[in-house]
């Protein structure tokens, strides 16, 4: 039984890992077909993973409503929003518009989801600015450099900033394209080395945490 519960999953990981790592080096139509199919398979399996996540959300809010916990009314709103969207979505066959005419599902997307999402992210501007005001005091050389870079980039992105500091547009572009790009590149190289190391550890069974705990 330990073979089925512990060793077989590790064997599946190893075989699939080695096969798809090797696939990259086989420039044959059959190899390309394997990659296309695997991508489709991953999308299908990912769909089931969504079921896991959504069910978890269902449970959390259903429990809140059942126990009438503080703020349970908001959970009802969440359920209503979700079930309403699902109902109109299925009614419209998942399409936002048909022959250029917006469906009810499209209306939910354009007049509920987009404004809610946009405003939710927009108010973060205020909190970022307020946090920056409290923490961005030039207490050290590093903090001063960070502050100056942030101000130059902010000034360089708006016409008023360029009007007040004429060089800010070019300077902002230079910071983003050269200084920022070099740091991003270094971080990318570091992260990639970590990704390769982790992938090798997973394939060869050194890293097993993805299998979860519990009994063997």
């Amino acid at each position: 039984m330990i073979f089925l519960r512990r060793q077989l999953p590790l064997l599946i990981t190893m075989i699939t890992g080695l096969v798809f790592a090797g696939q990259y080096y086989v420039p044959h139509p059959a190899s390309e077909q394997v990659l296309t199919s695997a991508t489709k398979w991953m999308q299908i399996i990912g769909g089931f993973a969504l079921v896991l996540g959504v069910t978890s959300l269902f449970h959390v809010h259903a429990a809140k409503i059942r126990r009438k916990e503080a703020g349970w009314g908001y959970s009802v709103v969440l359920y209503a929003g979700m079930l309403g969207t699902i109902a109109v979505g299925f009614w419209a066959n998942g399409k936002e518009s048909v022959e250029g005419v917006s469906t009810a599902f499209g209306w939910v997307y354009n007049f509920m989801m987009v404004p809610l999402q946009g405003t939710m992210f927009a108010i973060l501007a205020f909190f970022i600015a307020s946090a920056a005001y409290r923490s961005f005091r030039a207490r050290s050389r590093e903090a001063a450099v960070l502050l100056i870079a942030a101000v130059i980039v902010m000034m360089g992105r708006v016409p008023l900033g360029e009007y007040l500091i004429p060089m800010s547009g070019d300077l902002s572009q230079w910071i983003l394209n050269v200084l920022n790009a070099s740091v991003r590149r270094a971080i990318l190289i570091g992260v990639s080395l970590g990704t390769v190391a982790l992938s090798l550890k997973i394939i060869f069974g050194v890293e097993r945490s993805y299998l979860g705990g519990g009994k063997e």
């Binding site: 590093e142 450099v145 979860g212």
Partner: protein, 240 residues
């Protein structure tokens, strides 16, 4: 609807209040509903049902079976079966990641970092370009090389950062600070752009041709906030 929901979210700038919480939960609900419908349409209809029924691609029952194994998480005695699904996903993901990461994110990035310092000018002469506007100029190539090397060295902890190493690490820190500042400034301006978009909508819907919903809903929102504020003043403090 769009105006009312926008105002409900913006009311959070005053303080956390029931109108904001209502809009927040509605946002989560609508987003999850939207994702479910899209997943149903993309995965169930277009990737599973149609290929099997119309093209007879019965092999697709294999990923369906593997995916179904994930749901055994809800049956404690059979939950170990879900390991097969995770093993497959993690195995394929790891296998795909190794060669592609090495090629695109390591070798390609190093190739773009280590570039010739001198350029061929018309007439066969070699020249050193000082133009800061051009990211590929010789001066910028040197700056990028110094930036990448010093930042990588800063994160390399196998060598103690003393002596010349300290200077290199300090240079890396400066590059990092500039990058964090730039990322911060860029993010703030992106959020500002979203805010301008929402405010443009509010201004548009304050027009008489729409019945001035912005004005009326703003009044309702402010009135509700005043009512809720007065009501909570009389209540005992929250025990939670």
């Amino acid at each position: 609807m769009a105006t009312g929901l926008t105002l409900c979210i913006l009311s959070f700038l005053y303080k956390d209040n029931p109108l904001f919480k209502l809009a927040e939960h509605l946002y989560v609900g609508v987003s999850v509903g939207y994702t479910i419908v899209k997943a149903y349409d993309t995965v169930l209809v277009h990737l599973i049902f149609k290929p099997i029924v119309e093209n007879g691609e019965w092999v697709l029952l294999v990923p369906v079976t593997i995916g179904s194994l994930m749901l055994t998480r809800y049956v404690p005695k059979a939950s170990w079966l879900s390991r097969y699904a995770f093993a497959f996903i993690v195995g394929v993901g790891s296998g795909l990641a190794i060669p592609r990461t090495i090629s695109s994110f390591i070798l390609k990035q190093i190739e773009d970092t280590v570039r010739p310092l001198l350029m061929l000018a018309p007439g066969g002469d070699v020249t050193f370009t000082w133009d800061l506007h051009n990211p590929a100029s010789s001066l910028n190539v040197i700056i990028i090389l110094i930036g990448v090397t010093s930042v990588l060295f800063y994160f390399f902890f196998s060598v103690e950062h003393t002596g010349p190493g300290r200077v290199v690490a300090r240079t890396g820190v400066m590059f990092l600070m500039i990058s964090f500042g730039a990322a911060f400034g860029y993010t703030v301006m992106a959020r500002m752009s979203l805010l301008i978009g929402r405010l443009t909508d509010l201004i548009e819907f304050s027009d008489a041709s729409y019945g001035r919903p912005t004005v009326w809903l703003a009044l309702v929102t402010i009135g509700t906030l005043i009512f809720l504020s007065r009501r909570t003043q009389g209540e005992p403090p929250d025990q939670h």
